[in-house]
């Protein structure tokens, strides 16, 4: 549906783009500007947009606190989730795609159902907390890795399974004739041909675990295990209306997300659409 660029269409495009830039991009840009201002300049009214002297003081004070530890923790959690999620996800996707077995349909339906169920954080939180407390597995280094992997795994399986459907089975059969085991077929043939999907699944595993807050705020309580989003939230209480360090911590928490977004934006958009139109 491409029509010529009339004056009216250009005006519409300019207005919508300007509105979107203001609504969606400006808050992040303003958060960055705020984090670079001295406190009196932050409180200035009307707000100062360009005439301020940038300072890294807020970043220095935030990085000198336990916040650095929280960033390291979240990097560890996300790394663990990516490794565990891709391993379990790719094995399961291969099992569902390449074998037929009893319960295959029901089990795959369980996976599909778990994609939206994992969004239901509020409903899962209290039962999870009670169950994990009962088992004695809260507040451990692996607690959040297990939780976050389980939240993101259904989507990862769904993405990887879709890619494996596109790998011709003739390749498997040729390898089986040569005496390969199914594990070799998985590792040597199917996996190398699914690299873009592995990237997309890894991307969502990372986003989900880096961004998670509610489970992170209750399932671990030692400061040494605190994830980055919980540290940002606790800074709200700690700094109160002192928006400088608060915005500096928010910006630090958003850096990896923005890096991925700028590098892999297209992959993100195509990954998102899979659930709806496939």
């Amino acid at each position: 549906m491409s029509s010529p660029w009339t004056l009216g269409r250009i005006a519409l495009a300019v207005v919508i783009t300007a509105a979107l830039l203001f609504i969606n991009l400006f808050p992040i840009a303003w958060g960055l500007v705020t984090s670079l201002k001295a406190t009196p300049e932050i409180m200035a009214w009307p707000p100062r947009f360009i005439d301020f002297s940038p300072t890294l003081d807020h970043y220095r004070s935030v990085l000198a606190s336990m916040f650095t530890r929280a960033i390291a923790n979240s990097l560890f959690y996300s790394g663990g989730v990516i490794v565990l999620g891709l391993l379990l996800g790719a094995l399961a996707a291969f099992g569902f795609d390449r074998f037929s077995f009893r319960l295959r349909n029901s089990l795959f339906m369980l996976i599909v159902a778990s994609i939206p169920l994992a969004i239901g954080a509020a409903a899962l939180l209290v039962p999870n907390y009670l169950y994990f407390t009962y088992l004695g597995v809260t507040n451990q280094w692996f607690t959040l890795v297990l939780l976050y992997t389980a939240y993101q795994l259904p989507l990862a399986i769904w993405i990887l399974k879709g890619a494996m459907e596109g790998v011709p089975r003739e390749l498997d059969e040729a390898a089986y004739v040569d005496g390969a085991t199914s594990f070799t077929v998985w590792r040597r043939i199917v996996m190398p041909l699914c690299l873009p999907a592995i990237g997309a699944a890894g991307l969502f595993l990372f986003l989900g675990s880096w961004n998670e807050f509610v489970a992170g705020s209750v399932m671990v309580d030692s400061p040494e295990l605190r994830p980055v989003q919980v540290a940002v939230y606790q800074n709200i209480g700690y700094f109160g209306r002192d928006w400088g360090p608060l915005m500096a911590s928010a910006m630090l928490a958003v850096v990896p997300i923005l890096a991925i977004y700028l590098l892999l934006g297209r992959l993100l958009i195509s990954g998102l659409t899979r659930g709806a139109v496939k």
């Binding site: 808050p27 339906m109 954080a121 999870n128 986003l207 989003q229 958009i269 139109v277």
Partner: protein, 284 residues
């Protein structure tokens, strides 16, 4: 290994982890909800008493109504705006359409805590730069102090956060509609509104329903939105289900009613999950 067991070796680790985190705790929770919980330790068996105590809570009904109003308003407003925006993006070609998609998706991929914090600092706080810019355009935004405007701000934030997801999914749905249908309609002299009503809307039904299900789930379960933007105030006016569960359990340590409400929310989520499974064209 017997050949018939091999496929299970591939799928079992993932299935077991998912069952362990997403399903077993709720089954355990249904059992636990029948005990009087002192902090997290089960006391005496009370049957359905925790549920009755929850229903007898004087604010409970109002809280449910508020949650429904919030979710219905946020989802319908988001889908309506997203439909218009996606329809517009669908007429764009090449990099510009992709750039707009990337722009709208930004609040969805930033964490809930950070996006709520940024939204609050720019558009809600009394010295917010966004508010100042809007006031220069002659637009004034009501502050958080009244119940109605606090709810309106909460709904606006939810729309802002979920808009990009809805646009991207609806746009993908629009792109899968064959171009020939529009060409045929144009030849028959249909206006662009008629083409939208007779072709786009009916063929977009499934993606639209999927978006509605996902956004309903997301808004009904998002603790961070009320927690960071309004804290449930003023005077409980924006206290909705996710925040209520969170506060009962982890601020007031009333796990007995928290688990009852959580199990109720889980069952509501399951209804949405079932409709998702029926809507998505999945096959093994």
């Amino acid at each position: 290994m017997r050949p018939s067991l091999r496929p299970f070796a591939y799928v079992a680790p993932a299935i077991l982890l998912i069952a362990f985190v997403l399903y077993l705790p709720s089954l355990f929770g249904i059992y636990y909800s029948q005990f009087d919980l002192r902090y997290v330790a089960p006391g005496r068996y009370v049957g359905f008493n925790n549920y009755l105590r929850l229903l007898g809570d004087p604010d409970f009904l109002a809280m449910l109504v508020r949650s429904v109003v919030f979710t219905a308003a946020a989802v319908s407003l988001t889908v309506a705006l997203a439909l218009a925006l996606a329809g517009w993006v669908n007429t764009l070609k090449g990099w510009f359409g992709m750039a707009i998609q990337l722009l709208v998706i930004l609040p969805w991929i930033v964490s809930h805590v950070v996006s709520a914090l940024l939204f609050k600092w720019v558009f809600v706080n009394d010295i917010g730069a966004g508010l100042w810019l809007l006031s220069q355009l002659g637009i004034s935004v009501a502050p958080l102090t009244s119940a109605a405007s606090a709810m309106a701000i909460l709904i606006a934030y939810a729309c802002w956060r979920t808009m990009g997801f809805a646009v991207v999914l609806l746009l993908a749905g629009m792109k899968s509609i064959p171009e020939e249908l529009y060409e045929a309609a144009s030849i028959d002299g249909a206006t662009s509104w008629q083409r939208f009503r007779a072709i786009t809307l009916p063929l977009l039904k499934t993606p639209m329903l999927i978006v509605c299900v996902i956004l309903t789930l997301s808004n009904l379960n998002n603790v961070e939105t009320p927690l960071v933007i309004t804290g449930g105030g003023p005077a409980g006016a924006t206290n909705i289900v996710p925040l209520d569960i969170f506060m009962r359990a982890f601020a007031r340590f009333d796990f007995s009613t928290a688990i009852a409400l959580a199990i109720g929310a889980f069952l509501a989520n399951m209804l949405l999950v079932i409709s998702y499974v029926r809507l998505v064209k999945w096959r093994v």
